[in-house]
C-alpha cells in the first residue's frame, strides 16, 4: 500500500482526471505508474459499488462543486453562454487552472484572462470583458471597508486648505479598460432580456437550484469591439459600475496616487491643453466621486 502522501496524490489525480476515474486509472497503467486499473489495492469495493464507482462519486462532486461556484461568481457570463457552453468552458478552465487556494473565492481570478485565449473568444468576443466586469464587481463586494469623504466635507474645505490636501480612493474601486462594451451586455442580462429559446435571466439562474447546464443562452445585442473604460465601486454595501471618459480614468489614477488638488488640475491641464474649463470639470468630477462615495483619506500632503 502507498503511504498517506502517495495515497492522497493518487486519489487527487484520479478524481480530477478529465475523462473520469476509469480513464484516469487506465492512463496511469499505460504510463507505468499503476499495475492495475481496478484500484482494488487502494479502495474497497462491494456488491453495490466497485472502487472506481466509489471514487467517481468524489470526481463528480469535485467538478460540479467548482463549476457551480464559478456560476455564482459569473452569473452574466453563464447567462450569455448558456449552461452547456459554460460547462465546457469551466471544464477547460479547471484543467488549465486548478484551484490552488484554500478559498473558492479565488477560483475565478484567472478566468477572464483564460477566456482571452479560449476558442469561445472567436464566438463571443465580449465574453472575456464581461467576465472581467463580473470579477471586478465581486472583488469590490468584499474589499476592505473605508469611511468615504462626503460632498459636504469637500464643500466645507477652506480655499487655502484645498491646495494642501490629497484625496485617495477607497479600496473598493476598480478601473477597467475593456476592448468591448461589456457593460451593455451586463445591463441587458440584468434587465432580463428574453432569449429566443426561453425567457431566462441570470437572477433566475442563481436563485434557483436548477442545474446550470440546463440554462439556454440569453440572446443579447451589442458587445462589439468598442474601447470602454469603466469604474466599478461599492457604495455602502451596494456594488455599482458605470462607463467613464478617458479624462476621468486619468484623474482617478492620479487620485489613487494621492495627488493634491492643484497637482490634479496641473496634470489634467497638461493632458488636455485644448480643454477650456478644466477647473469646472474637476469640480464636477469631485462632486460626482464624493456623491458616489469613492473618495477617502482627506489628509495633509507632506
Amino acid at each position: 500500500m502507498p503511504d498517506l502522501k502517495a495515497t492522497q496524490r493518487l486519489v487527487w489525480e484520479l478524481i480530477s482526471a478529465p475523462e473520469g476515474v476509469r480513464a484516469g486509472a487506465e492512463a496511469l497503467v499505460k504510463e507505468g505508474t499503476l499495475a492495475s486499473a481496478d484500484l482494488a489495492f487502494l479502495i474497497r469495493g462491494d456488491e453495490r459499488l466497485d472502487p472506481i464507482a466509489r471514487l467517481d462519486i468524489y470526481a463528480n462532486m469535485y467538478f460540479f462543486r467548482l463549476r457551480d461556484a464559478l456560476a455564482e461568481d459569473f452569473p452574466k457570463l453563464l447567462a450569455v453562454l448558456g449552461g452547456a457552453r459554460f460547462h465546457n468552458l469551466i471544464t477547460d478552465y479547471l484543467l488549465a487552472c486548478p484551484s490552488t487556494s484554500w478559498t473558492l473565492r479565488e477560483l475565478g481570478r484567472r478566468l477572464p484572462e483564460f477566456l482571452d485565449h479560449h476558442p469561445l473568444a472567436a464566438e463571443l468576443p465580449y465574453a472575456a470583458d464581461l467576465a472581467r466586469l463580473e470579477w471586478a464587481r465581486l472583488d469590490v463586494s468584499d474589499e476592505s471597508d473605508a469611511e468615504p469623504v462626503t460632498r459636504e466635507a469637500i464643500a466645507a474645505l477652506a480655499p487655502e486648505r484645498l491646495a494642501t490636501f490629497a484625496l485617495g480612493l477607497i479600496p473598493a474601486v476598480r478601473i477597467l479598460s475593456l476592448a468591448h462594451d461589456a457593460l451593455a451586455v451586463w445591463g441587458q442580462v440584468e434587465r432580463g432580456v428574453p432569449s429566443d429559446a426561453a425567457s431566462c435571466t441570470t437572477s433566475a439562474a442563481v436563485e434557483t437550484d436548477a442545474d446550470p447546464i440546463e440554462l439556454p443562452p440569453v440572446q443579447v445585442s451589442g458587445g462589439g469591439p468598442r474601447p470602454t473604460r469603466a469604474r466599478v465601486w461599492r457604495r455602502g454595501l451596494a456594488v455599482l459600475h458605470r462607463a467613464i471618459a478617458p479624462e476621468e480614468e486619468l484623474a482617478l489614477e492620479l487620485v489613487r496616487q494621492g495627488a493634491t488638488l492643484p497637482e490634479l488640475a496641473e496634470r489634467l491641464a497638461a493632458a488636455s491643453p485644448a480643454e477650456p474649463d478644466l477647473t469646472r470639470q474637476l469640480a464636477a468630477c469631485l462632486d460626482l466621486w464624493a456623491a458616489d462615495g469613492i473618495l477617502m483619506r482627506l489628509r495633509r500632503n507632506r
Binding site: L4, I15, D46, P51, Y62
Partner: protein
C-alpha cells in the same frame, strides 16, 4: 476535560436568511457560520456577521483546514482565521476530519482519510499545531464518506475517539454523517455512538441527505429524515445536553421552515431526555 456549556438549538447561517435574521428575533439560540465565507477584507458578509454576533452566540465552522492533508498547514489561512476569531469571539471553532487537497491543489471537498496509525499520528500532530496557533482547542467533525481505503485498519469511530483524546480536542458529531456513512459502509451507527467519550462531544450537526440507490449522499437539501432523528435521540440519551444545529445548504427553504426544523430539534432532544429520566 470539560465540554462547553450547551448553546441550545441553532442553525447554520446562510446568505438567503441574512435579512430575515437581522430584521427580527428568531427561534434560533445560536448560529454557526462557514468561516471561509467571512475571511474577507470587508463588505456585506462581515457586516452581517458583526450584527448577528451582537445578538447570538456564534460558532466558526471551517471547511478548509484540511487537517489530514500531507501538504503543510496553510499559515495564511490560520492567521486569517485567528484574526476573525479575535474579532467575533466564537463559542468555539470547528473543522472536519478530512483532507481537502494535496500537492498544492485544492479539491474543496471533505475527502476521507485512511484510518491507519500513520494517519492518526499525522492528524494528531497537526491538530496540536492548529490549537497552538489559534490559542484554543478546536472541535473536529466526522465526515460522510463514500469509500473505504483498502488499508484502513481502525474503525472510524475508534479513529475519531483516538484523535480527540490524543490531540485533546472536541468532537463535532454530525449525526446525519454517521447515518450516511453507516448506510454506505454497512456498519451499525449505534456502535459509533457507544465508543465516543461524552466529555468530548461539543456539538451535534443534523441535516438531510439524498438517496442515490446504491449510496446515500450528504446533500443538506432535505429536512432531517426520521432515521436521523432516531439516531439523534440515541445521541442525546448517551451524550446529554449538547449544542445542536441544523444545516440546510441546498434547496434552501424560507427562514420560517428552517425554524420549524430547529423546533423539531428541541422536541426530539426533549423526548430523548424524558425517555432517559
Amino acid at each position: 476535560m470539560s465540554r462547553p456549556t450547551s448553546l441550545g438549538h441553532g442553525a447554520g447561517l446562510r446568505r438567503e436568511h441574512f435579512e430575515r435574521v437581522l430584521s427580527a428575533p428568531t427561534r434560533a439560540d445560536w448560529f454557526e457560520v462557514i468561516s471561509e465565507n467571512f475571511l474577507v477584507p470587508g463588505g456585506r458578509p462581515l457586516e452581517v456577521l458583526r450584527r448577528v454576533r451582537r445578538d447570538y452566540p456564534v460558532v466558526l465552522h471551517g471547511v478548509s483546514l484540511s487537517i489530514g492533508s500531507t501538504d503543510p498547514l496553510d499559515s495564511g489561512y490560520l492567521s486569517r482565521l485567528a484574526a476573525l476569531a479575535a474579532e467575533v469571539e466564537p463559542a468555539w471553532i470547528s473543522d472536519h476530519l478530512c483532507w481537502a487537497g494535496v500537492g498544492g491543489h485544492q479539491a474543496h471537498d471533505l475527502l476521507p482519510l485512511p484510518y491507519t496509525e500513520e494517519s492518526l499520528a499525522h492528524v494528531v500532530g497537526r491538530i496540536a499545531r492548529v490549537q497552538e496557533r489559534l490559542g484554543r482547542r478546536i472541535a473536529i467533525e466526522n465526515v460522510s464518506s463514500y469509500l473505504t481505503y483498502a488499508d484502513s485498519a481502525i474503525p472510524e469511530w475508534e479513529f475519531l475517539r483516538a484523535v480527540a483524546e490524543r490531540a485533546d480536542c472536541g468532537i463535532l458529531l454530525d449525526v446525519n454523517n454517521i447515518f450516511v456513512s453507516a448506510t454506505n459502509h454497512a456498519f451499525d451507527p449505534l456502535d459509533y455512538l457507544a465508543v465516543l467519550p461524552p466529555e468530548r462531544i461539543w456539538q451535534f450537526h443534523l441535516a438531510g441527505h439524498s438517496d442515490h440507490g446504491a449510496f446515500l449522499l450528504d446533500t443538506h437539501d432535505h429536512p432531517v429524515p426520521e432515521p436521523v432523528w432516531d439516531l439523534y435521540r440515541a445521541a442525546v440519551r448517551r451524550f446529554g445536553d449538547v449544542s445542536a444545529l441544523v444545516e440546510w445548504d441546498g434547496n434552501i427553504p424560507p427562514w420560517e421552515r428552517l425554524e420549524q426544523e430547529i423546533e423539531a430539534t428541541r422536541r426530539q432532544a426533549a423526548a430523548a431526555t424524558v425517555a432517559n429520566a
